[in-house]
C-alpha cells in the first residue's frame, strides 16, 4: 500500500517536471529514470506487499567456488592471518573480530594503522546469503568483498604482489594451496576464494539457529509473549517488514532512512582525513568533494542525486552481537534504533539525513508506546542465537625458500 503511494509520488514528480520546462533538464532525467529503474518484477513484488519473514535456508554456494573442508580450513587460516594486508598487521579478522560479532564494536571500523575507516564494519556472519556486499553494495560477491577490503587504503592496504610473495614463503600455505587449488605457488585470487569459502560456513544455521527461525519453523515456544507482540508490531504498526523482509530479513535494496551524519567527523581529524579520501577515491566531482558533509552512500555507485544517503537494508540476524548499528554506527543500542524509527528517522537531538528529499516515504513517526518499543526490542533480540566463537588458529611460520648450499651453488654458477 505504502509502496503504491511512493510510485504515485514519483509519477506526479515526473508530470511536474514536464511542466517545469527546460530549466529542469536534470530533474526531468531523474524523474523519468527513477521509476523506470524499478524492474517489473520488483514493482509486482512491491504491489503484492513485502515477503513475510521466513526461516534461513542453506547458504547458496557459487558453482565457481565449491566448498571443500580443505578449502574452508585454508580460508580460516587466511582470514585470521594479518600478513594478508599491507604491513602484516591487519587481516580480515582485525576488523571482523569474532569477539565483536565478527565486526568491530566502534562506530567506524578501526581501519589500517595510521587511518580510521569511515563506515561501520559489517559482520561476516550470514554474509554468504547476500548477492551484494558493503553498505553501498559495491562488491558483488564475498570473493570481491575480501579482495576489496584487503587492498583498500583505509582497510587492509595490501598489494597483490607483496601478499602473494609472503604466502609463497610460508611452507604450510604452499602445501595447502597446492592441495586445494593445484597451483605450484599460492595465487592471490585463490586467497579470496578460500576466505569466501570459510565465510560461507559462518552462518546462523544448525546449532547457531536463531529463536526467530525456530519459531518460523513451527516451534512456538521459541518466542516469549513479549517477543510475539513485538513481531506483530514488526509486521504491522512499526512497518519494519517493508524493508526487513523475506528469508534474508532484508529487501537487499537501498534506502535513505534518515540516519544523521556521524558527529565524529566534526571532532576527529583522522576521521576527517578519511572522509575526504573517500570522496576522492569514490570518484566525486570536485564540487561534490568540497561540499560533502555526510556519506552519500549508493550515490557513489549510481551517481544519481536521488540516491544520496541511501544504504543497503541491513540484515537483522546476529545483531545482538554487532552493535553499534547503521552504516556509520551512530546508534549503540537496539533501543536507540527503535527510538530513531519511532521518531520517523530522527535522532534524539532532532538530527536526520542531510538529504531529506531522498528520505524514504516509508519512514515516518510510528507512535509506539513505551511498552510497544520494549516489545519490538525484545523481538529484535530473537534474531540472534548463540554467539559464534572460534579459537583463532596459529599463524603458520615463514621459512627460507633456499638453503645455503643452493645459494652457494648458484653463486658459483654465475
Amino acid at each position: 500500500m505504502r509502496m503504491k503511494k511512493l510510485t504515485l509520488t514519483l509519477v506526479a514528480a515526473a508530470v511536474a517536471a514536464l511542466f517545469a520546462g527546460c530549466q529542469a533538464t536534470a530533474a526531468k532525467q531523474e524523474s523519468a529514470t527513477a521509476p523506470a529503474k524499478m524492474s517489473a518484477a520488483k514493482m509486482a513484488m512491491k504491489a503484492a506487499g513485502p515477503a513475510p519473514l521466513a526461516p534461513l535456508g542453506k547458504a547458496p554456494i557459487p558453482p565457481d567456488n565449491k566448498l571443500t573442508p580443505e578449502k574452508v580450513e585454508l580460508g580460516k587460516l587466511l582470514f585470521f592471518d594479518p600478513r594478508v594486508g599491507g604491513d602484516a598487521s591487519t587481516g580480515c579478522s582485525t576488523c571482523h573480530e569474532p569477539e565483536q560479532g565478527w565486526a568491530w564494536a566502534e562506530d567506524f571500523s578501526r581501519g589500517y594503522p595510521g587511518t580510521v575507516h569511515w563506515r561501520n564494519s559489517q559482520s561476516i556472519i550470514n554474509s554468504a546469503y547476500f548477492p551484494r556486499q558493503f553498505w553501498a553494495g559495491s562488491a558483488s560477491s564475498n570473493e570481491k568483498q575480501a579482495k576489496s577490503a584487503a587492498k583498500g587504503g583505509v582497510a587492509g592496504n595490501g598489494e597483490d604482489d607483496i601478499m602473494e610473495a609472503r604466502l609463497a614463503l610460508i611452507p604450510e600455505y604452499k602445501k595447502r594451496f597446492k592441495a586445494v587449488f593445484g597451483t605450484e605457488w599460492p595465487i592471490i585470487d585463490d586467497v579470496w576464494h578460500a576466505i569466501s569459502a570459510f565465510e560461507r560456513t559462518m552462518n546462523t544455521t544448525g546449532e547457531y539457529e536463531v529463536p526467530l527461525d525456530k519459531y518460523l519453523k513451527g516451534d512456538k515456544s521459541a518466542l516469549n509473549e513479549e517477543q510475539t507482540r513485538g513481531m506483530a508490531l514488526f509486521n504491522g504498526k512499526a512497518g519494519c517488514i517493508n524493508c526487513h523482509n523475506g528469508e534474508l530479513t532484508t529487501d537487499l535494496d537501498f534506502h535513505n532512512i534518515g540516519v544523521p551524519p556521524n558527529k565524529r567527523w566534526e571532532e576527529d581529524g583522522l576521521a576527517q582525513i578519511t572522509f575526504r579520501f573517500e570522496q576522492y577515491a569514490k570518484g566525486q566531482t570536485e564540487k561534490g568533494y568540497r561540499a560533502a558533509k555526510s556519506d552519500w552512500g549508493f550515490y557513489y555507485r549510481s551517481k544519481n542525486k536521488w540516491d544520496k544517503g541511501k544504504f543497503r537494508t541491513a540484515p537483522l540476524r546476529y545483531i545482538a552481537y554487532t552493535a553499534p548499528y547503521m552504516h556509520n554506527g551512530v546508534f549503540y543500542t537496539l533501543e536507540e534504533v527503535v527510538d530513531f524509527y519511532n521518531r520517523g528517522g530522527i535522532d534524539e537531538e532532532g538530527r536526520t539525513t542531510l538529504f531529506p528529499e531522498n528520505k524514504s516515504p516509508l519512514i515516518k513517526p510510528l507512535g509506539l508506546t513505551d511498552q510497544e518499543k520494549e516489545d519490538l526490542v525484545a523481538f529484535l533480540e530473537a534474531f540472534s542465537g548463540p554467539e559464534i566463537m572460534m579459537e583463532k588458529p596459529e599463524q603458520p611460520p615463514y621459512a627460507p625458500l633456499f638453503n645455503m648450499a643452493e645459494l652457494k651453488a648458484a653463486q658459483e654458477a654465475k
Binding site: R83, G86, D87, P113, G153, Q272, F402, L407
Partner: protein, 368 residues
C-alpha cells in the same frame, strides 16, 4: 655487424690487458671536478624537507624517507640491506641521496631515467618501501595547518600529490656535496697520488667519471650476492614482490639480483648495476648495491683482485697489482671526495610533528 662490434670489444680488452697506460685514455672520459650549482627555491625546499622526514607519508605512518636514507649515513641506509616497509625487509642498500639531483638515472638497476618527481612517486607508493596511497597522503597533509601554510608560501596553493612530488625533489637539490678536500683543492699528498692512480693504473675513471664520478651506466663487477636477501623471508618477500611486479621471468627460482636485466631482459645484462657516485663515501658504508663490502679498503681490495666472480663480468675489470701504499693512497683519494656532513637544521627537519591530526573547526560550515 654484430660480429664486428664483438671483435672491437675484444680488441679493446686485449689492449687494456697488456697494461697500456690508461692515463693516456683518461682524457677520453668526462673530467672529474666540481658539481654545477643548482638554483634552489627556498620555500619549496623547506617544505620538501619537512615532508622528507615525516612518517605520515607512509601507509601506516611508521616510516619516512629518512628511515632508509639516514642523514648521518650520507642519506644512505645504515645496514647492508635497507629496512623497507614494516611487515617486510628489502633486498638492496639504499643509495646515498647526496647529489641525487645531479643524476640522470636512478635506482641501482636504473629503472627510472626521467626525473626525481617520478623517483619520489616510486618510493612513496611501492608496497615494500612506503606503501602509501597518495590520495590518503594528500588528505593527511591537508589536515596539518603547518603544511597548508607551507604549501601556500611555496606557491603551490592547496596541498596536492603533485606538489609533494615537486617539493621533495626541490629539497633533494639542497643535498649537494659541500667543502670536500677534492672540491677545495686541499687534498693530502696521499690523496693526490690516489687521484693519479684513480685516473691511471687503477682505471677507476673508466666508469667513475664526470663531476659525480659515475658514468651512470650499468656494469657487472661481480659483486657477490648478499645471501640475506634469500635466507631472510622478510627480505626475500620484498625481492619476490619486486621481481614479480617488474615481470622478470622465473622470479620464484631466482637466486641472484638481476639488476639491469630488469630493464632489458637480455641475459648479457644480468647482474649489472648502475655505477654509483663516489662522493660522500666516508659516510655511506656499507658499499655496493647489496651492502656486501664494508669498508673502502675492502672495496679497493675487491677491484685490486679484478672484481668478483661472474661469467658476465665487465671486461674493464682486471687484477690491478696495486701495492699496499697505492691502495692506501686510493682510499685517501676516495675519502677526499667527502665533504661536510649534511646533518644540521639546514638539511634535517628537527622540529617535532604533531602527535595527532587536529580537527578542522566548524567542519560542517567550511568547504572540504
Amino acid at each position: 655487424m654484430g660480429v664486428r662490434v664483438t671483435t672491437g670489444r675484444t680488441l679493446l680488452a686485449a689492449v687494456m690487458g697488456f697494461g697500456v697506460a690508461l692515463s693516456a685514455q683518461a682524457a677520453e672520459y668526462p673530467a672529474i671536478g666540481k658539481l654545477p650549482q643548482l638554483k634552489i627555491n627556498n620555500a619549496k625546499a623547506e617544505l620538501g624537507k619537512r615532508l622528507f622526514f615525516d612518517k605520515r607519508l607512509s601507509g601506516d605512518a611508521a616510516v619516512s624517507c629518512a628511515t632508509c636514507h639516514v642523514p648521518d649515513k650520507g642519506y644512505a641506509s645504515k645496514e647492508a640491506l635497507s629496512p623497507g616497509y614494516p611487515g617486510n625487509g628489502h633486498f638492496r642498500n639504499a643509495s646515498s641521496l647526496i647529489n641525487v639531483a645531479h643524476k640522470k638515472v636512478w635506482n641501482w638497476d636504473g629503472r627510472i631515467g626521467t626525473n626525481l618527481n617520478d623517483m619520489t612517486r616510486e618510493m612513496l607508493t611501492e608496497d615494500y618501501t612506503m606503501n602509501m596511497d597518495m590520495r590518503i597522503m594528500q588528505e593527511r597533509i591537508k589536515q596539518d595547518p603547518v603544511y597548508v601554510q607551507m604549501f601556500k608560501d611555496a606557491g603551490y596553493g592547496e596541498p596536492s600529490n603533485g606538489s609533494v612530488r615537486k617539493a621533495i625533489p626541490e629539497y633533494m637539490k639542497t643535498l649537494t656535496s659541500a667543502n670536500s678536500p677534492f672540491d677545495k683543492g686541499k687534498m693530502s699528498a696521499s690523496a693526490k697520488n690516489g687521484m693519479k692512480l684513480f685516473k691511471g693504473k687503477a682505471g677507476c675513471i673508466q666508469c667513475h667519471n664526470g663531476p659525480l664520478l659515475t658514468d651512470q651506466k650499468a656494469h657487472n663487477t661481480g659483486v657477490p650476492e648478499n645471501f640475506d636477501v634469500f635466507l631472510d623471508p622478510m627480505n626475500h618477500q620484498a625481492f619476490i614482490a619486486f621481481t614479480m611486479f617488474q615481470g622478470i621471468p622465473n622470479y620464484m627460482n631466482l637466486k641472484r639480483d638481476p639488476g639491469y636485466y630488469n630493464i632489458t631482459l637480455l641475459d648479457e645484462d644480468m647482474g649489472k648495476f648502475v655505477t654509483p657516485s663516489l662522493r660522500e663515501l666516508k659516510y655511506s658504508a656499507p658499499y655496493m648495491h647489496n651492502g656486501m663490502i664494508k669498508t673502502l679498503a675492502d672495496v679497493v681490495n675487491f677491484y685490486n683482485q679484478g672484481g668478483g666472480k661472474d661469467s658476465k663480468k665487465s671486461d674493464l675489470l682486471k687484477p690491478l697489482k696495486l701495492s699496499g701504499k697505492e691502495k692506501k693512497d686510493l682510499v685517501a683519494f676516495l675519502e677526499a671526495l667527502s665533504g661536510n656532513k649534511l646533518t644540521s637544521d639546514k638539511h634535517v627537519w628537527k622540529q617535532p610533528y604533531p602527535a595527532e591530526y587536529e580537527a578542522i573547526a566548524n567542519w560542517t560550515e567550511v568547504p572540504n
